[in-house]
Amino acid sequence: MREIEFDVVVKAVRDMIVHCGTDLPQDTYDALEEAMENEKSPVSKEVIRQILENANIAKDEKRPLCQDTGLAVFFVNVGEEVRIKGGLLRDAINKGTEQGYTDAYLRASTCEPFSRLNLKDTVGYNLPAIIHFDIVAGDKIDIEYAAKGGGSENVSRARVFPPAAGKEGIINYVKEVISDAGGNPCPPITIGVGIGGTFEKACISSKHALFRDLGSVNEDPEMDEMEKDILTEVNKLGIGAMGMGGTETALAVHIESNPCHIASLPVSVNVQCHSSRHTHITI
């Protein structure tokens, strides 16, 4: 059984958070540059230019890209032949989250749902992190991280369709969700679509779909085609950057599809703003 020191995980998580807070990932930057080139509306083109200028300032001066530095969301694949020495894996991830958010001057955005009291002084600075664990073969730990902002999360939706809805029903549903959202989720957006599984599996899949690099191709040719179809439809809505009208509403659509119950067709749409701050590390 391989052993990994508790503090090694803490530091790895802390470093990912510090880096993502100020450095927009290259795949996102490239996708935004392409969108700026393609955008037909001068107003939206200027908005994307500001977004790219913002990314340059944030990187050069180590300032947070956005004041909404998100809830910290993790997908963690733990090998069956590895254990943490000196503490629990969950605690290490939470400790690294607190250190990263504090060290990089990021915002503490977790609160109690009804009193709305910030949890920074009770539970911890921007804690608890949202962590999805899975057990896999091998002796490594793979940690995917994203900072998930509130504006884009607020427009996300899920629904269980009857199987007869089919692909057309799903495409229309995604279009409806994005149309209703307008400029609120900070377009140009990435759209994560989780299909199949159970109700919660579809939701988690739609979240995980957002962790995929922009510009990457879906390995399933059928889903790849569906991603392109949804992207074309969504960009017909005319929402544009920050909702100011334009042709580049979404940068990409990412689908994760799962086997499901014979009676159901669950669908979840999770929206990501243009500041798609995500990265991963294998320890």
Binding site: Q50, Q67, K236
Partner: protein
Amino acid sequence: MAEYTLTTPLTSEDTKMLEAGDTVLLNGTIYTARDAAHKRLVDLIEKGEELPFDLEGSIIYFVGPTPPKPGDPIGSAGPTTSYRMDSYSPTMLKHGSKGMIGKGKRDQAVKDACVAYDGIYFGATGGAGALLGKKITSAEVIAYPELGPEAVRKITVKDFPVTVINDTHGNDLYQQGREQYEIKD
């Protein structure tokens, strides 16, 4: 679409000349407030009590900044989604405020209040917090420090870039812009 440079406090003369789609560089003093602070401010107005700042001609920025790095007046400071302030904004406009800065759609009551009280809803680029934070040259918490990032701050801005979304004539850039680029099958 015209470009303007304006200094606060704004007058009705300033706001009436603006049209949806115009870009404006704002200068001077602006106040920050999000939902929690708005609730308290509107409570004070309804009770007829004194506010922590003068509403007349004021611009309210919907923002909850990150903590400042040592030596900086403020951290990253881009706009938050505005609909959460929809229930409070008409009261603020009615009592003299002339502008709001945020992102995202407003409800009809806010648009009507812009027409009735010569108010403007400005949009700033969401997610451009580093760029916008640098346009803020001073910041001071003047009320509700216990709200943390949601406290009311008096800030000074220099050439702070915004776009007119809702003007005093009832126009809405979100609606107009979308209609112009929407492709109907």
